[in-house]
């Protein structure tokens, strides 16, 4: 694993090379989610029967903005490597393509999340007048973070593997990614949905990418429910890893590069 540490370091330096670009990138996604909270606040002003009050809505969406970078990123560089023959370097060297890409993406997503935790947590506590979470709630949420990232990364690299067969895998990845964000509760707190939808979504991985950890922090889900969600996500991680390995191996048999 030590050989991937320089990849993480280079990834962080790469992200910090253009700092204005990084700041705008962070603002862009955070702003989109905060705007969504304003829509729901307008609804809450007209309907006092919503499952969350106005402060909880603000807390929920600021929490979603913090977690966003861990599950929403673009693996277009992997598709480019497949298309242009960049995979060849992994076939010749004693490094795993999966862990190389994982390390690079982790450096970027980890840095973005760390910056957002530092800048947005005070906003959650001040703007939303949120109750300070207990240590077990914080510890469980921290446990969620690497699992959310690894599951999302494995899922996206699986989708990017389509580039072994089709040139334009990005269109499929983009289309699926937006549905995943919706199902994760990035745009709608899932408690606003009908109970049968909530029940179905609980057994899918997406709810546990954002909605479950945020609700654990807010205290609207118990620690036991939070642990159950984490276990469900881990099971899905095992399943998606198996699919990813299979697709990558099959893709490599299909892969060819000339003149590199």
């Amino acid at each position: 694993m030590q050989k991937y540490l320089p990849v993480i370091r280079i990834g962080v330096l790469d992200a910090l090379e253009y700092r204005l670009d990084l700041a705008l990138h962070l603002i862009k996604y955070a702003l989109a989610i905060v705007m969504m909270s304003l829509v729901w606040l307008a609804v809450a002003r007209q309907n006092s029967q919503l499952p969350l009050d106005q402060n909880q809505i603000i807390s929920y969406f600021l929490g979603a903005a913090i977690l966003y970078s861990l599950s929403n990123f673009h693996t277009d560089y992997i598709e480019q490597d497949i298309r242009l023959g960049g995979i060849s370097k992994f076939l010749l060297k004693p490094i795993s393509s999966f862990w190389y890409y994982w390390s690079f993406q982790f450096s970027q997503s980890g840095l973005e999340t760390a910056i957002k935790i530092v800048t947005m947590t005070p906003m959650v506590l001040l703007l939303a007048q949120a109750v300070v979470p207990s240590w077990p709630q914080v510890a469980l949420t921290i446990l969620y973070l690497p699992v959310i990232f690894t599951f999302s990364f494995t899922m996206l690299i699986t989708i990017s593997s389509i580039a072994f067969w089709f040139n334009e895998a990005w269109a499929i990845r983009w289309s699926l990614n937006i549905f995943f964000r919706f199902l994760a509760g990035m745009f709608i707190p899932l408690s606003f949905m009908a109970p049968y939808w909530q029940h179905i979504l609980w057994w899918l991985p997406f709810t546990h990418l954002a909605s479950t950890p945020i609700n654990v922090m807010m205290g609207t889900l118990s620690l036991a429910q939070g642990l159950e969600g984490l276990l469900i996500l881990l099971c899905w991680l095992v399943a998606i890893t198996a699919v990813q390995r299979l697709m990558w191996q099959r893709g490599l048999k299909h892969y060819e590069s000339t003149g590199l």
Binding site: Y18, D21, M35, L38, A42, V43, N47, W174
Partner: protein, 271 residues
Amino acid sequence: MKVPGSKALIRYLTIYGQILGFTLKSLLEYRLNFFLQLWYGPAYVAVLFMIMQTVFTKTPTLAGWSKVEVTILFATFHALYTFGIMLFGKTIRHYLSEGISSGEVDWVLLKPLRPQFLLTFSRPELQHVLLVAGAVGLFSHAVGQLSSAPLLSQWLGFSWMLVMGLLIVYFSLSTYMTLGFMVTRARQVIELYDKTSDYSQYPTPIFPASIQIIFFTILPTAFFGYLPTLFLLGKGSYYWPILATLTVVIFAIINQAAWKRALERYTSASS
């Protein structure tokens, strides 16, 4: 009688027609890819539509707007904005993210055409045609559900506001594009613009006053859907078309000044 500038306009429209033709041919070279690309825009908008539908399961009106009225606003915004993005959005995105910093502008400056034309219109994104068609279909369906059909004057005002809205999209986006000449990496500017624009599918009054001011000035997204729809629904004042026209004039002046300054500032080496 000859209208001044008409010859140049016809020339540029002819060239743009040829660009559209080349783009379509190159897209159809890989038909499966083109087919897949057709769907990512509608998939994104389908999710935004589901969010809007969920909003209306919790409230009958939003800032006094019914579900049908917000659906008209939603469809108007997506048809207008996506049409703009289809015509010039991809070109602006390309030059802003890499074209300017990599020195590609050199090739544009050598051609006997206005650089702004080539730097904003040379790469149309025809993959959005399905989304535009879908939004127009949704608009027709929603207008048909209104209790009273809009009057001719409302349609005329709406059409005028749409044209002004499209011009405001162009002038504002291409003005922000000139930032690409000032900083090395400015791609996020258009992404930020794009993400914020998504919220013009909701009635502007649901947002706090400070954000409404931004939607009428720095990011003039209120002109992309809210104001035209207001007019169509008979809720708009006749001052709005005048305000929209004035806004276009102001944005055009700022745009031309920004482009003049940006092109003077442009340098490249060994590109």
